[in-house]
Amino acid sequence: MTRSATPKLAVYAGLAALGLLAALATRRPELVLIAAPFALFAAVGLVLARQPQIDAAVELGAERTLEGDEIEVKVTLVAAVGAERVEVLMQLSRRLALVEGVNPVQLRLADGERRELTYRVRCTRWGAFRVGQVYIRAHDSFGLFRNEAVLDRRLPLKVYPSEENVRNLLRPLETQVFSGNHVARQKGEGIEFADLRPFVPGDRIRHVNWRASARRGELWINEQHAERNADVVILLDSFAEARRGDRSTLDPALRAAGTLAARYLQQKDRVGFVTFGGTLNWLLPTTGAVQLYRIVDAMLDTQIVLSYAWRDVTTVPRRTLPPQALVLALTPLLDNRSEAAMLDLRGRGFDLVVIEISPLELLPQPQGEAGVLADRLWRLRREAMRGRFERAGIPVAVWGDEVSLAAALEEVSAYRRRARAASA
């Protein structure tokens, strides 16, 4: 602990000296009475002063939690040599709001005493944090010295974005070769009925359609659609964001990315994740619970990095975007580079769906005639962008405060059904 004298020590010593000298000069013993307590206080305080020895340990209720959840943080103080007044401050990120407990707190620690301070903290926003930097300031009984220490007992805390309520996922147009939950176009082992065909040697008896066989006088076999998995790539546009206070278009985008990744992985699909923007991060598509943790951890590192570099999809490693993958692009449609990249992806034959994270709620009210005109022009440009997507056959679903993610996905499904009916 770093020890330093408070201004009180110098002041009391000075007042004592001044009083005693004044008493001598004026030959008044009363002034000795005025000076004596300051002298005695300083002298006794100096004699009794000692260096406190305080240690702290930090314990987190959980290492991983969800946005909006509360966790318990326990700080255990152990004083080998105590102090009359000990101020304890546990540093917290402003994204972690204290719900219960006093921080900072002033308490007394006797020699050998052990105290537990319990805090309840609400994780108001997703992110990766390190919790447990403890600042300690100990005062002696006389307040003449302070001893300060910073105890770095930080522990990692990962706050994942909260999940959106999604019941039905988008079905990919193409499936892969491994078994999964999607009904494939190809025929094979499955449950969904596909067609009837005449019996050939080698067919299993249990596939015989007895009713059709009886009607036609020869054996007929049921064929099924195979059940396969799919490749899904979640493409997060991190070129730009709209922000107002603590709210940003990146937050719902990450919530959607986490939800979709979890749901597709539950269906045994291979899920990949690409952050496409000022910095490029990617995770190759794969299956399993571990992949979900990888994706969510990658999401926590996501941030908007301002960049003027022109990036296109050729900068994304080829294996990250497997052929016939369903690409779900989460974008606020604020940057022309992401628009160009998406049109490029569609041009390369990817099954692309754009989920637009609406930035409109985060925009300030336009001021003045020029402001209103600029706002209208900006909205028209966005409409034109959506029109270009639709002409390229890319469904665009707008997700904002008034529309849930489930409704936005349903909108895409409806668009695809209409497109199939029109092309048939």
Binding site: V11, L24, E30, A36, P37, L46, R108
Partner: protein
Amino acid sequence: MVYAVLAGDRLPEIVAVVGATGVALMAFGLVSRWTSAFPAGLAGVAAAYGLYLALRNGAVDARAPAVAAAVFAAAELGFWSLQRTPSRSERAVLLRRIAALAAGAAATALVGSVLLVLATGASGGVGLEAAGVAAAVLAVASIARLSSRASV
């Protein structure tokens, strides 16, 4: 300060001006949290009492222990206020601090009364005066030495 002005029979205006300056400095120090202004104000208030004593004729002021206790308590309360932090004190800590302050003021008054009785009973002389000077210098030197050693 009020006591010095009301009890004084000679030049109470000067005592009042010195005391009021001290009080104003203390108040300014507390409001602006300027640590240097507060002790200067405290010294000003003590100086007003010293001036009152210097202008006073006659015997030792019997109320000096009470004045000493009041000045000490004011100093302690002032520094408590100046060293205020955003941390919330536990009730036990607060009570112990208040009790310590009250005990300090009471001890000041008690020790002051004893010293006053001793001072009143003692007869003057060069030897006693030299011993007083030596004690004062020794006290100040001890504090200075202890504080320089302790603050390392």
